[in-house]
C-alpha cells in the first residue's frame, strides 16, 4: 500500500475521489489511526462550518434580493436615463431661450431658470435611487434640520406634508451650480403610490427674477417660488394643481411669518 498524501486525504474528505480511490484510502486509514483521527477532526470542522452558516440558505430571502425585482428596477433606471438625457436637452433649450428673452434685464438673467433646471436634474437623478435616494433619512429629522440650516445659512424646517398624503423620506445637501459657491438642500417625499416629489431649496441671496414660476419638463412639473429668504422649487410628476397645494403648505411651514405677506401669490 502506497503512502496517501494529505491532498488525497482531503480529497477523500471532500468527496472528490472515485470509488476505487476511496476504497484505497479506507484501507490505508485502517492501518493509520493517527491519520484517521486527523481526518475526523477535519470532518468535524466541516460539519461545524455547516452548522454555523448552513441555515442561512433556508432563511426567507428578503424582497430586495429578488432578481425579477432587480431586473425591473434596472430597466426602469435605463429608461429614465434616456428620459433624463432628453430632459437635459429640454432644460438647455429653456435656459438658452430664457437667457435670450431676458438678455437686457440683469447680469444673470436666467438665474431662477437655472435653479429650476438644477432642481429638475437633481430630482431626476435621486428619485430613481432606492437605497441612496437621500443622504440623511427622515429618522434623523432633527439632525437634518440643524445640518441643512447651518450649511444654507438660513433656518430651514422640514415641512410635514402628511396631510397631503406625502411621507418624508429625508434629504441631502447639493451644490447649487447656478449660484457661485452656492448650496442647496433637496428634500424628498413619497406618496402611497410611490410617486416622489422633491423640494430644492436655496438661500435667496443674489437671486433675482420672478417670485413664482411653473414649468413643465418632460413628465415632471416644476413649481418655483422665492421670498425674502429662500427660493424653493417643487418638482414631481403630479399635476400643477397638486404642486400648487403642496407649495402652499410648504411655504406656510418654511416661512410662517411671511405666509400672509404679499410676495407670494397663489396662481
Amino acid at each position: 500500500m502506497t503512502e496517501v498524501t494529505r491532498d488525497t486525504l482531503m480529497a477523500y474528505l471532500d468527496g472528490q475521489l472515485d470509488g476505487d480511490a476511496m476504497a484505497a484510502v479506507d484501507t490505508w486509514l485502517a492501518a493509520n489511526p493517527d491519520a484517521a483521527i486527523e481526518l475526523a477532526q477535519m470532518q468535524r470542522q466541516g460539519e461545524a462550518i455547516n452548522t454555523l452558516f448552513g441555515p442561512v440558505a433556508t432563511e426567507p430571502v428578503p424582497p430586495r434580493l429578488n432578481p425579477h425585482r432587480l431586473a425591473l428596477a434596472q430597466s426602469r433606471r435605463r429608461w429614465q436615463g434616456v428620459a433624463r438625457a432628453a430632459m437635459l436637452v429640454g432644460v438647455l433649450g429653456i435656459g438658452i431661450a430664457a437667457g435670450w428673452l431676458l438678455r437686457p434685464a440683469a447680469d444673470s438673467p436666467a438665474l431662477h431658470n437655472r435653479l429650476i433646471a438644477d432642481a429638475v436634474s437633481a430630482h431626476t437623478v435621486f428619485v430613481a435611487e432606492n437605497r441612496h435616494a437621500v443622504e440623511v433619512g427622515s429618522a434623523e429629522t432633527d439632525h437634518l434640520t440643524s445640518w441643512l440650516s447651518n450649511r444654507l445659512g438660513t433656518g430651514l424646517a422640514m415641512p410635514d406634508l402628511a396631510t397631503a398624503g406625502f411621507s418624508f423620506l429625508g434629504g441631502r445637501l447639493l451644490p447649487a451650480p447656478a449660484i457661485p459657491g452656492g448650496r442647496a438642500a433637496q428634500l424628498m417625499y413619497e406618496d402611497s403610490a410611490g410617486e416622489r416629489v422633491t423640494l430644492y431649496i436655496t438661500p435667496r441671496t443674489g437671486v433675482d427674477g420672478p417670485s413664482l414660476e411653473l414649468v413643465r419638463l418632460g413628465d415632471d412639473n416644476a413649481l418655483y417660488w422665492a421670498n425674502a429668504t429662500i427660493t424653493c422649487t417643487i418638482v414631481g410628476p403630479q399635476s400643477a394643481e397638486t404642486l400648487q397645494a403642496l407649495a402652499d403648505s410648504v411655504f406656510a411651514q418654511l416661512t410662517p411669518s411671511l405666509a400672509t405677506g404679499s410676495e407670494y401669490r397663489p396662481i
Binding site: 491532498d7 475526523a40 461545524a48 462550518i49 452558516f53 432587480l70 431586473a71
Partner: protein, 168 residues
C-alpha cells in the same frame, strides 16, 4: 430572460450563505449579494457564460467582496472582529461556545484561505470548480485548503478534542 432570472433566483440562497460566512454580518452580506445580482443582470448580454450560472455568480461575489475589503482598508475603518455572528441553531453535538470560537477563527484566516475553505466545505464545490472561481491552479487551491484547515485546528485547539461521533 425569464429563465435567466429564475436561474439567478435559485442561486440566491447559496450566495447569501457564502456571503454571510465571508462577512459574518447579515447586512453587509445581503448588500454584497444585491450588488452581485445587479451586476449579473446588467452584464447578462455581454459576459454571461454559456454554462451554469453558479460559478460565474460566485466569481462576481468574490471579486466584489475583495474590492469592498480593499476600500475598507484604504478608508482605515475596521469591522469589529469580535462582533458575534448570527449563529443560527447549533446542532446538539457542537456547543454554542465552540461554534462562536470557530466562527472567530474563520474570520481570522487570511482572506484567500477563507474564500477557498468556504467554497469547498460550505458550498460543497468540486476542487476544479472552486479553483476556476478563484482563478487559481488546482495545486494552489489544495495548499490553501490545507493551510486553512491547519490554521483552524490550531486556533480552535481542536487537537485535544475527541473524535466526532454521531449523537443519533
Amino acid at each position: 430572460m425569464v429563465d435567466f432570472l429564475d436561474e439567478l433566483e435559485a442561486c440566491v440562497p447559496a450566495l447569501r450563505r457564502y456571503a454571510r460566512a465571508l462577512t459574518r454580518n447579515i447586512d453587509h452580506a445581503d448588500d454584497l449579494v444585491q450588488d452581485c445580482l445587479e451586476r449579473a443582470i446588467s452584464r447578462r448580454g455581454l459576459f454571461r457564460p454559456s454554462g451554469p450560472l453558479r460559478p460565474w455568480l460566485f466569481t462576481i461575489l468574490v471579486n466584489l467582496h475583495r474590492n469592498a475589503r480593499r476600500a475598507e482598508q484604504r478608508r482605515g475603518t475596521h469591522l469589529d472582529a469580535d462582533s458575534l455572528p448570527d449563529l443560527g441553531m447549533p446542532a446538539p453535538q457542537h456547543s454554542h461556545l465552540a461554534l462562536a470560537e470557530l466562527s472567530r477563527a474563520i474570520d481570522g484566516l487570511p482572506l484567500e484561505q477563507k474564500e477557498t475553505l468556504l467554497l469547498v466545505t460550505l458550498e460543497g464545490m468540486a476542487y476544479a470548480e472552486a479553483a476556476s472561481i478563484l482563478d487559481i491552479p488546482l495545486g494552489t487551491l489544495m495548499s490553501r485548503l490545507g493551510r486553512a484547515r491547519a490554521n483552524l485546528r490550531l486556533s480552535t485547539g481542536d487537537t485535544q478534542e475527541p473524535h466526532l461521533r454521531s449523537v443519533k
